[in-house]
Symmetry: C2
Subunit: 521 residues, 2 copies
């Protein structure tokens, strides 16, 4: 490292909070461009969005150049994250130019580089947590893959048995379509059964024919839904623990290393041949220079401050609630005095805020506090998962919008358009999708795409194969594998681990249990 | 213990495999009486079933008397399982007499003691594994209860918010019913949302009104479906591990104790004041008397035999498949020669059996073998869980049949009855339940009850509230709590633990890892 005053100044400037916030703001702007680009929530000429995007790219480039000046050249070029950013920037510019020129020539064009946008969030220097999460996923992938192969094998065998068992009986689904006659259809149906989305529906025709067939489905659900899904969780959890172990080990090693270096800086040789010591004056000087907590931060030591009751959440929580209730009451009285009628809505909000104070009561019961504390401790990690989810959702939303935009239309409540009954797509006439009024579950803009993807995370229903092509199902299967099998399981593993630590901490001392955890790992 | 030859003989007779099999056979007969009792799959006069049940009760009583003679009197009366059996037997006899006399007088009567039948399976001496499983559940209950209270608190608060937020907007569900206006309905709907059964449906009216409301549901799903359900798993898993630890500790202690006692029997004092020793002759004598493995069994030592490849599963599996394929081929050729046409069905079975041999190929790949081995090792435990599930299902099926029998009717495929469109119950006219042709999901007999309960385990749909009373939903909620939150989570915890042991074994030696496991616990 260069330790000249200028370099340090540059470094300090790089690490200042203002440029960081600035950077995140522009990433946010870049990501939210999807709201204004076609298919848009609020349509805006493409030229404007392109200009804003160029501005964002400029900011990212400047930040990258700054970073390149801060750290040594060879280190900069060896770091994959910098190369990633450069590639993303170049590809985006190329895509922008191609798209704008095609647009000008009235040709069909796809803004494919939008898929790359969320990757900026990952590869920026500050996205350390997010990169760690992605690395943890990457490490788990091989083992997940082997289990997945076995799962696919079991799925294919069960589908074959279903075809042989049920295919030639001339059964019909409720739509009147032939039941279980096409192998690929069966594979898809049974895959969806694993997500429990079509749970009784898929077996009803067979079960109506004879209850013996129910045994086949029971066996399938036991093996694939319960056992294999648990195995996925086990594999992800195991890898997560292994990875955590590695992280803790590295942290401990780094801490030790830094301590030794800090000592080397502070030490002085008292006597010839004697042991080197840190003098009191030196120590006081450094303590004066930096506050103790900052020092700990410098040395990467976690300082565990014992919580004094009432704990910070409570007071912060109380303050927020009381202040918001106050504001709501003030607004209410202003409205009342000006329009001489009481706004029911705002009174309701005040009421709900008061109800939320009940959480304090619950928190004061010891049994509950342990659980709530753990939930709060999970908080920051949930934010990392949130970013992770947003990155993945954004990519899927971009792809989904290109594939499915405009296929399904939503008609407002008052609409009398006859197309409203089938979501504006004749192919959906009489399907359960249209009957259940799912029309707003579409990929027509980025907001509805996100909501739809969230629904797909909970339950994987897919009416989109009907409006495009059977291969569109691949999109939903890939989404399920990526989000439900991998990311949600990591989330569950995380919650599990947090609770196990909590339970083991409950019994003993925090410090010793942490140490034991580290040793054990 | 009485060690007179007579008592030992009696004990040997009690522990002989024939009476054990006999007992299980009669328990099976007793349980399967539900097939013939009203509401029956195969109706039979109540007198016959009553006689068969009396016979079963007689057998159970005899077995109990035998057991009472084998073990000391005070021990017998202190054991809750014996008292349980006596209470069950007495109650069943009382119920039988009351029911038969009411039946004779043409009064309405309920065979409420049928609920107690599966408890026999638990309380019989041989149901040790099952009792252990129940004990483990009982131990986990207090902690589950605290989390459940918090979960209910969150559910109630969210419901209140939903009522305030959405109740006065005049929204309608697809059935045209008012949306989110009744607090209890909201609580139920949001509870079902946790099971993901009504996932997009419940939010569609609000989402159609404005996408802002989707945020409410997203928050709800994040907190209640993902976090709270993971916390339930964590609590159950943690208790399971704690319990396992206790079990292993007791086993180790018992083993040590028995070893000491065995040594005391075998030892002889060689020299005055010298250490007691076991002479070779004594040792050979005992080894001659009992085979080594039996000896190990006697001392409750687990003998770990190193598996020699090809492992037992493979050969047994191969044999079964080859023999069944052979039998199928023979039957096929017999049919062909007698009727001069090839039975497609049987050829298909032969084909599927051949496909199943593919499992061997998969098993021969090392990566997969580790996973498959673990799955096989889980096998016996799955049987215990199977019994557990049957006990719980049986109880719910009995209660469900009394509550809901005949409410929903299933019409065979050729039926032209107009009632077929609404499952024979006018209340179901136009509901999704009837539209999706779920009519066979009913409590009209014990077989369909079991299949329905299995479906409810996977996805908790409940059309039954419509045909009886809103309070019927309680039945489904209780079922969900008991089966999905408690039992399925124990099953998942079990699979997880099995895989963690497998992964840690993979790396080191089996023996040491087991020892480490015990020490660690």
């Amino acid at each position: 490292f260069d330790t000249s005053p200028e370099a340090v100044k540059l470094y300090m400037r790089y690490n200042h909070w203002i440029p960081k916030v600035f950077l995140f703001f522009f990433i946010l702007v870049d990501l939210s461009l999807a709201i204004f680009e076609k298919p848009a929530v609020f349509p805006v000429p493409t030229l404007y969005t392109a200009l804003v995007e160029l501005l964002c790219l400029l900011v990212f480039s400047l930040r990258l150049v700054h970073y390149a000046k801060v750290i040594p050249r060879d280190k900069f070029w060896k770091d994959p994250k910098n190369i990633c950013i450069i590639v993303i920037l170049v590809l985006t510019v190329v895509d922008l130019i191609v798209y704008e020129s095609l647009e000008a020539a009235n040709c069909y064009a796809v803004r494919w580089s939008r898929v790359l946008r969320p990757l900026l969030l990952v590869n920026v220097t500050e996205g350390r947590q997010l990169r760690r999460a992605f690395r943890s996923i990457r490490n788990a992938l091989p083992q997940i893959f082997y289990v997945f192969l076995l799962f696919m094998f079991s799925l294919l065998i069960f589908s074959l048995m279903a075809l042989k068992l049920l295919g030639k009986r001339g059964l019909k689904t409720i739509d009147g379509a032939p039941y279980f006659t096409n192998y690929l259809e069966i594979v898809f149906d049974l895959y969806v059964l694993v997500t429990t989305a079509n749970s009784p529906d898929v077996m009803m025709p067979a079960y109506n024919a004879s209850f013996v067939f129910a045994i086949f489905f029971i066996l399938y659900i036991l093996i694939n839904t319960y056992i294999f899904m648990s195995v996925f969780l086990a594999v992800v959890y195991n890898n997560y623990k292994k990875y955590l172990k590695e992280e803790v080990r590295q942290l401990v090693r780094a801490k030790r290393h830094k301590m030794v270096r800090a000592f080397a800086v502070l030490q002085e040789q008292r006597a010839e041949g004697g042991e080197p010591v840190v003098t009191q004056t030196n120590w006081n000087q450094i303590v004066k220079l930096v506050a103790f907590v900052q020092l700990a931060d410098l040395l990467n030591i976690e300082v565990i401050t014992l919580k004094s009751r009432p704990h910070p959440l409570q007071s912060a929580f109380d303050t927020i609630i009381v202040i918001s209730a106050l504001i709501a009451t003030i607004i209410n009285s202003v409205i009342t005095s000006s329009q001489s009628y009481t706004s029911r809505q705002i009174l309701d909000i005040v009421f709900i805020l008061r109800v939320l104070r009940l959480i304090r009561v619950v928190d004061s019961i010891k049994r509950f506090r342990a659980i709530i504390n753990t939930l709060i401790r999970i908080g920051p990690a949930i934010l990392t998962f949130g970013q992770l989810i947003i990155v993945v959702y954004y990519i899927f939303a971009m792809v989904g919008m290109e594939l499915f935009k405009g296929k399904i239309q939503f008609f407002e409540d008052g609409s009398v358009d006859p197309a409203r009954a089938y979501c504006g797509n004749p192919l959906l006439k009489g399907t359960a999708f249209a009957q259940l009024n799912y029309c707003k579950n579409n990929f027509n803009n980025v907001v509805s795409s996100f909501v739809l993807l969230l629904e797909l995370t909970v339950v994987n229903h897919s009416g989109f194969a009907a409006v495009t092509h059977a291969s569109a199902r691949l999109f939903f299967i890939v989404f399920h594998i990526m989000v439900v099998i991998v990311i949600i399981n990591i989330f569950v593993a995380f919650v599990l681990e947090a609770f196990f630590v909590e339970y083991s901490v409950d019994k003993g001392d925090l410090q010793t249990s942490l140490e034991k955890k580290i040793e054990e790992l």
